[in-house]
Subunit: 691 residues, 2 copies
């Protein structure tokens, strides 16, 4: 294996479209793929044609002819319903057209006319359809009798880059930024374009290109200094149907506007935002809007002026409204200078306490971005109680694809199962029982906007995500944002087939590794939903008391008798009462609270018996020892694929799994020793716990 091989393996990710062995190419494929008929002009149509051509070449080693003419051999054709492509017109009748939303599409094998037709009402829909067809081809599906309709569940399917203009990435675990080098916007548009391809192929339609923590230089992205280069990035994404957003600094009027205030009710401030927004739209006609982290973790915000988050976000919304732009306002607002001695303040309560009272006061082009849980992307948290509680407010759910607290792409942790649990959570809202996914897609309360946002996990590492298997998280995020009904297993299988090819053993093995990885990671890290226990700042590696006496509001309160946070209404912080109906009651009750969240909601003795039948302390020992074994098994399992999967890909993963197994041992021993020292209770099975 050469260094070069290692350095490029994985770059094409799920769009590599490994050549199908000639023996396996059945005639029908080649029949359909020899010709592409595309009648319409436009950038995204061009992208669609190019991607289809590239994919077919890669898969079958043939270069399809492209023509505008609908006459001739069998073909693949695509177009909008009203675009004048006769094959499209003939394939899709009025009835089917009426079921397709703007970004949706239909694909049908039209034997009569000799085409596979991809029809949509917009160019973006066409592009998504093309990627869908490529996915089918790439996973070896038959295309002889296609007849499908796809509409996205969510209107907004967004990626947040936490990239800083100095090239660093906050919580980035895959190298430096692909967007910025040395305080300038990159000149390497090829890499950006390759990222845009990956995103479009999984249905992403929006991207905020800079960190939500907007520092001095990033604040200037709105100015003439950077705007022309931002526009170039927007051009790249536009060709893939993706709108560009900027994270903004709420104090911009002061920092770059020369004003003495950023008070959202001050007319000069409002005027300043209107002017600068108009200027952005002059440079980028389809600019998406602003992403805002305000009054959070030392960022400026409306609180400075005695205003609230509705005042702040509405001001920006008004500036964007004439241009069709939106404000995405994060709900990650809490007191990050808490005193650890203060047992009444509860960070988990903060988002609900701040935003629930504002429900109904936000303009209709404001969207609140709510983290999946009340804390901060822990391996296990309850679902944020804001979902369902906000009835008259647009909202998107925020996930974190980058594995800040879930192994930092050094450990395998396929997050789709976690996200699925969150999305399927029953909120007991609106007197019924809608799941989170129906809240965030806007359907329950009939909201104008809804969807997903997530923090990207890519950087300039050759394989994008550092850990090759972490590509599955980016892939899964997009697929799930599009279709929340997909199972974690189905997504994993798709991804494995596209990335590693269709060998059954490979598919079965890697899929299994992915599916169990979240549970494995959880089992050797912080127990029973209590969270944290990581090293401060960088958040990698075990440190049981790492945040215990900090100002961050993240505690476990372990003492010689027990552990956990009492968040009940009766004796604790009252957080459990932020849920509706049965949820509140279930979390309030130590008997009914699910084991995996017990320590999030209750402080219990080490001898408390779980539903599983073992005590808390024994569970800690069992799960940690078990977690190490399972992490070691991952390494072992992977080694069975040596010589079967691409060597470059194999080695990348083998190296990470080795580190994971070693580091799982560190977690296990440290956590077990900590709790053994604290509780004085021995392991019933007499395994080695260091004293």
């Amino acid at each position: 294996m050469t260094g070069k091989l290692l350095s490029v393996a994985g770059y094409n990710a799920w769009l590599g479209f490994n050549r199908v062995e000639s023996s396996k190419i059945s005639n029908p494929y080649v029949d359909w793929c020899g010709r592409i008929v595309a009648a319409e002009k436009g950038e995204i149509f061009g992208t669609a044609a190019a991607e289809l051509t590239r994919g077919i070449e890669s898969l079958f080693g043939i270069r399809p002819l492209t023509s505008e003419s609908t006459e001739g051999f069998r073909c693949i054709t695509f177009g909008t319903f009203e675009g004048g492509n006769e094959l499209i017109s003939r394939t899709f009748g009025a009835e089917i057209r009426s079921t397709i939303v703007p970004e949706g599409y239909a694909i049908k094998t039209n034997a009569a006319d000799g085409c596979i037709a991809i029809g949509a009402s917009t160019a973006s829909g066409v592009l998504y359809g093309v990627f869908h067809l490529l996915r089918l081809l790439g996973t070896g599906c038959s295309v002889d009798k296609l007849e499908l309709v796809e509409n996205p569940n969510n209107g907004l399917r967004m990626i947040n880059q936490w990239d800083n203009i100095d090239g660093s990435i906050e919580r980035g675990y895959a190298g430096e930024s692909i967007f910025y080098v040395n305080n300038e916007i990159t000149m390497n548009m090829e890499r950006v374009r390759d990222y845009a391809r990956l995103l479009a192929s999984i249905g992403i339609n929006a991207i905020a290109i800079n960190n939500v923590n907007v520092h001095k230089y990033e604040t200037m992205l709105l100015t003439d200094k950077f705007l022309p280069d931002v526009a170039k990035l927007a051009d790249v994404f536009r060709a893939y149907g993706i709108k560009l957003f900027l994270s903004i600094n709420f104090a911009s009027p002061i920092e770059i506007g020369g004003l003495s205030t950023a008070d959202p009710l001050d007319p000069t401030v409002r005027n300043w935002w209107s002017r600068i927004t108009a200027k952005i739209y002059t440079a980028i006609s389809d600019f998406g809007g602003f992403l805002v982290k305000a009054d959070s973790e030392n960022r400026p915000g409306p609180f400075t002026y005695g205003r609230d988050h509705a005042d702040g976000s509405n001001m920006l919304a008004e500036a964007l409204q004439p241009h069709g732009g939106i404000v995405i306002w994060r709900c990650f607002v809490y007191n990050c200078k808490q005193d650890w001695r203060d047992r009444s303040t509860d960070r988990a309560r903060a988002a609900f306490d701040h935003f629930k009272p504002l429900d109904g006061r936000f303009h209709d082009n404001v969207i609140l971005q709510i983290k999946n849980g009340p804390m901060d992307f822990q391996v296990r948290e309850p679902v944020s109680p804001l979902f369902g509680a906000l009835e008259a407010t647009n909202q998107v759910i925020e996930f974190q694809i980058t594995q800040e607290y879930t192994g930092q792409q050094r450990h395998l942790c396929y997050l789709v199962p976690q996200w699925k649990e969150v999305l399927d959570f029953q909120t007991h809202a609106k007197g019924g029982n809608p799941s989170v996914k129906r809240i965030v897609d806007g359907s329950v309360y009939g909201r104008r906007f809804g969807g997903f946002a997530a923090v990207s996990n890519i950087g300039n590492d050759a394989n994008w995500t550092g850990h090759l298997l972490a590509q599955a998280n980016l892939y899964g995020y997009g697929r799930l944002a599009w279709n929340t009904e997909l199972s974690a297993e189905a997504i994993a299988e798709e991804w494995v087939r596209l990335t590693f090819g269709g060998d059954d053993r490979v598919v079965r093995t890697i899929k299994g590794m992915l599916i169990h990885s979240w549970s494995i990671y959880e089992s050797y890290t912080a127990p029973l939903g209590v969270g944290w226990m990581v090293n401060p700042d960088h958040h990698y590696g075990p440190n049981v008391d790492g945040y215990e006496y900090s100002k961050w509001g993240t505690y476990h309160f372990a003492d010689c008798r027990g552990v956990g946070v009492d968040r009940t209404v009766k004796t604790g912080t009252g957080y459990a009462g932020q849920y509706m109906g049965d949820n509140a009651a279930r979390y309030e009750s130590v008997e009914n609270c699910p084991d995996e969240l017990l320590l999030f909601f209750h402080h219990v003795p080490y001898t408390h018996v779980l539903h599983s039948g073992v005590t808390v302390i024994q569970h800690i020992y069992d799960s940690h020892f078990n977690g190490v074994e399972r992490a070691e098994q991952l390494e072992e399992t992977w080694s069975g694929l040596a010589g079967i999967v691409n060597e470059g890909l194999y080695e990348q993963v083998a190296e990470r799994l080795k580190e994971q197994a070693e580091h799982a041992r560190e977690w296990c021993d440290m956590i077990n020793t900590y709790f053994y020292r604290k509780s004085g209770i021995a392991d019933q099975l007499g395994r080695k716990i260091y004293s």
Copy 2:
């Protein structure tokens, strides 16, 4: 008070020589000080004359005449015994001359000849005598009947700068380096000269100007790129009788020499060191030599080549020998990649285990530099058992003036009392009972070299040390290195008088604050000698488990039953056995071990009763609550000096004491809560411990 006032107050430190109020100037002072007679030529004599002139001007507002002529009015005169100054010759007879070592001096009021005479056998001795006289004048002592002889106890009185060439200072708490700016040697020689004055005034005669951790650019200090500028620094220090040393990178032959090895037994390597050393002496004829941190904390060293520290240091010694240079080789060598699970490895043992077997193998221009304690400058440690154990090896004791683990110059911690305890420690060596100070001065074993080295606490802050009162540590270090018999109280009083003037209340108050400050700091930080419990990396602030599961070999092993490290021979790591005679027996015994070191040597239950009569857990609570009160009292005490001491000085200290009181509370609460949670034992006095 102006910013300017604040920014300059303290710059002159103990050489400010506040104007004596005219009403207090007794005639005799002015009589003696009107004329300076200095007959000899030479740089250091020039320095002596200039310092004396400056001091007199500052104190009395008169500018003394200087002349070479011994005829005339009363005068102050100085010179070497053989320098031809008749006043010196007449004042000091052969008997007294024979008692003066090269750097020593005599001062005598010679009424018959109408002079105060400072005589010495070297120019440096003269300079030290001049500073001594200034100190007497500055503290208001009568000079009418002076008759004193001073010889330094220690030959080497060295300062180590942990300055990096990028301008940062490792463990620096008073701004940036005064030696380096942006990877260049400073052009600001005035600041360097002012530092040299301060050092010479307290008897320092050697300085290593760069961090013992020698990184890429500092390695190049030996090369033509930097040597001319290093020579300029040497020039500045030479005028104050201070020799310049460089910390070197053991891997220099590879990094800057182009060799493939740094093996100390390789002839090409030896040759390379000889050549580069000769080149240094061409640039700096009185270059002091090399300071070396090797095979320690990831620094390169002889271990890489299967050689030992005698091989490594002797190689450098041979290169330096022809030029009269010396090697100072640090004994801070231990395994910094220890596994916290490993209870048998004990970092405390490391220096002794590494260096005791090498005793006798070092060349006579090699000096081992041994930290005062076996760990790393904790607020409380036992004395290093290497003192007394090395019989045939030159050694210096290393103290840390910079307050890395003792409050980082944000807390007041006058360290002289700690150093005194170390120096007065009875080693039971050589069948007798010599104290550490007699070991390190070389007298017990008749060694050629001996003395003190210490890590400086200054930076480019206007007042040098950040915390103004931390100047007392630098002052005290120099004074103690010169005269180990001085008491901590006497040194404190000198320093206060020189810095703040002679007001009795001021002297009594500040002296009292200094004297108690170590005990105060100890009382609210890690208890009973166990050490650490600080935040990793930066080492500021409480974190009980901060190093508990680390690789650094620094543990307290607290569990629900007890706390401490078993370092006994019988059941522990055996470290106690590295001591001689009664010391070994005393530390081995849990009954006889001094309370303040109990947890360093023993793991005991929380209910263990101390000699003080209280249990370990109650002691923890008592000392921490008490420590906070005493820290608050410091602030209160200082406030009584408002309007009495210089306003600029007052404000600087007031600010730090406020922070200290607040932070002492943080230490107290965190440590108490930690141990309450862990032990489950309540405070007998029912004070507030957060659960």
